[in-house]
Subunit: 335 residues, 2 copies
């Protein structure tokens, strides 16, 4: 192992697609923990569409990452050295230390045992909580309703669909390949899936798969997919606006969908950001952990090894290269 | 008075702006009431932006008016002849008999006394109820919040603003002339008003008048005005989507505003149609009637005389020719 701390630094705000030089991989000394502090080694880094938002200076829900700073990201880390009696070397915990191999922290949330570590970075982490609270709190699914999920094979989408099935809904996923669509239906229990890349008329396809209209749309995509969804709403539909990944690389925000049908169907579009629900994570964990342990909720992870691959891996989120949660494994799990 | 019943018939669905020949004024015999029925003479016809929707075959909240049928519209009528013991000639009542001078009905809602008849067609009718339930039920205004109203000098908008003032909000109106803006502030108690026709940068103007962001937007306009509003939302803002008059004459629905800020601000856009609230009109009337009688809520009416002027008068809604409620007076009130 290197005796250094590699970090990705935001050098300049990307314009459109992220370009070489927007972020730079640098090598720093491993930091030294002060009194009461803890040195952690990063095991896993969460890659999420919202990373692209944090790189920009658009109006957003957290301050953007400052130029010259380590790129922000959720992490899972192991304690290397501790000056805090509450933490011992080898302890594994949730951290938020960003795109770097080591960091000094004051504390962190230790993980309960029982599941592979990547589960705590996906279905039982912020990703799963996004699916859980977004669908249940804003979508309020009722038995027999029809739920559409875009980016359905993604980390959030696949959990949304499975929770909706538990709640007795008809679930239609939208994904970007036949393999993903097949996986959603055959392995994850979706009722139907639509490959938006090969479907010429998304409005007609949604109409076919949602003959009673769409009661809930869990929106991760935005753009043309959202427009097609809005044209198929059922009365009093709820659109959980969780993400609009189709637009994050746009240089100027494109116009949105016509809202005419939102008016006609008395529908509701509501923005959802998971940080509002941090105080309620216990509630989520208590219900989701048993579902995962009992196999009622499955999850995929796409794991790319090595901090040096973070930026190329991030691009998979925008090109559809991953299935389920996309993680960088920065170092080996403790034995 | 003519011994005939003039009616406006929908002959063909308008494409874009309404054109001569889309509707036709015809003359029919005055209908004869059967057993138990009532012949009424129309006093006032309500003209509303939604009339344009009813003429089209777009997906909408009621069936469109069929070709060859009398144009639909809310009316206030007086009983001419009654075969129903519950109604006497001279009784005035709410009806929904459309763009014609006479009609046969089975009944109607008689008006309580105490206010000029046009009040029952505006502030105390569906117009006032739209403002009342849209603002209070969906907008949920709290003291000190900032409320923006588009088409603020219109029939609904002016009532929305005044209710919001009663609830202790800062109220900013958007209207289409300096005279309307002055009226909103000087006579109706709005805190500020913006003339969208002379304001080059609506985003900047809204930012200036709403320094803490917009908590509630009561949306009647749509289009560029809505887009500028969305760029100035406060956290957890509510957009009451009541109308999008800027789009009703469009041949194809234009795209909507970018929803990025709805996501970032966890805002909510919700469609509102007054017919959902018909069962709760008693609740509305009980609170609004005293406000009107005590002068806490003022209202304007623009009254055009003569059924033959209905179509040219309707155009005022789209060009900004009216202030407050636009009515056609079809015949004289009973003495």
């Amino acid at each position: 192992m290197r005796n250094s701390n590699r970090q990705w630094i935001l050098k300049r705000r990307p314009v459109g697609d992220i370009k070489p030089g927007d972020l730079e991989l640098v090598e720093q000394p491993i930091p030294v923990p002060g009194p009461g502090q803890i040195l952690v080694r990063t095991l896993y880094l969460s890659l999420d569409p919202t990373n692209r938002i944090w790189m920009s200076d658009m109006e957003q829900y957290m301050p953007p990452v400052n130029l010259g700073e380590v790129m922000r990201g959720g992490t899972l880390s192991v304690v290397v050295q501790s000056n805090n009696d509450g933490f011992q070397p080898g302890d594994v915990m949730n951290t938020f230390t960003g795109w770097q191999e080591y960091a000094v922290v004051d504390g962190g949330q230790k993980l309960p045992p029982g599941l592979p570590l990547p589960a705590y970075m996906s279905v039982l982490g912020a990703t799963g909580a996004t699916a859980y609270f977004g669908l249940l709190d804003l979508g309020k699914p009722k038995e027999g309703e029809t739920v559409v999920v875009s980016a359905a094979a993604g980390a959030v989408g696949q959990i949304v669909g499975q929770i909706a099935k538990i709640k007795g809904c008809r679930v239609v996923g939208i994904a970007g390949s036949d393999a993903k669509c097949k996986h959603l239906v055959a392995d994850l229990g979706f009722d139907a899936a639509i490959n938006y890349k090969t479907t010429k008329d998304m409005r007609a396809a949604l109409k076919r798969e949602c003959p009673n209209g769409i009661d809930i749309d869990f929106e991760n995509a935005g753009g043309e997919i959202l427009a097609a969804v809005l044209d198929n709403l059922a009365m009093k539909a709820r659109i959980v606006l969780c993400g609009m990944i189709s637009q994050y690389n746009a240089q100027t925000p494109p116009p949105g969908p016509s809202l005419t049908n939102v008016l006609m169907k008395r529908a509701r579009i509501e923005g959802f950001i998971i940080i509002d629900y941090l105080p309620r994570f216990g509630e989520f964990f208590a219900e989701m952990a048993p579902w995962v342990m009992q196999g009622k909720i499955k999850y995929d992870t796409t794991i790319v090894k090595g901090i040096e691959n973070s930026l190329t891996a991030l691009d998979m989120l925008f090109t559809g290269g991953n299935t389920g949660k996309l993680l960088i494994q920065m170092s080996e799990e403790p034995g």
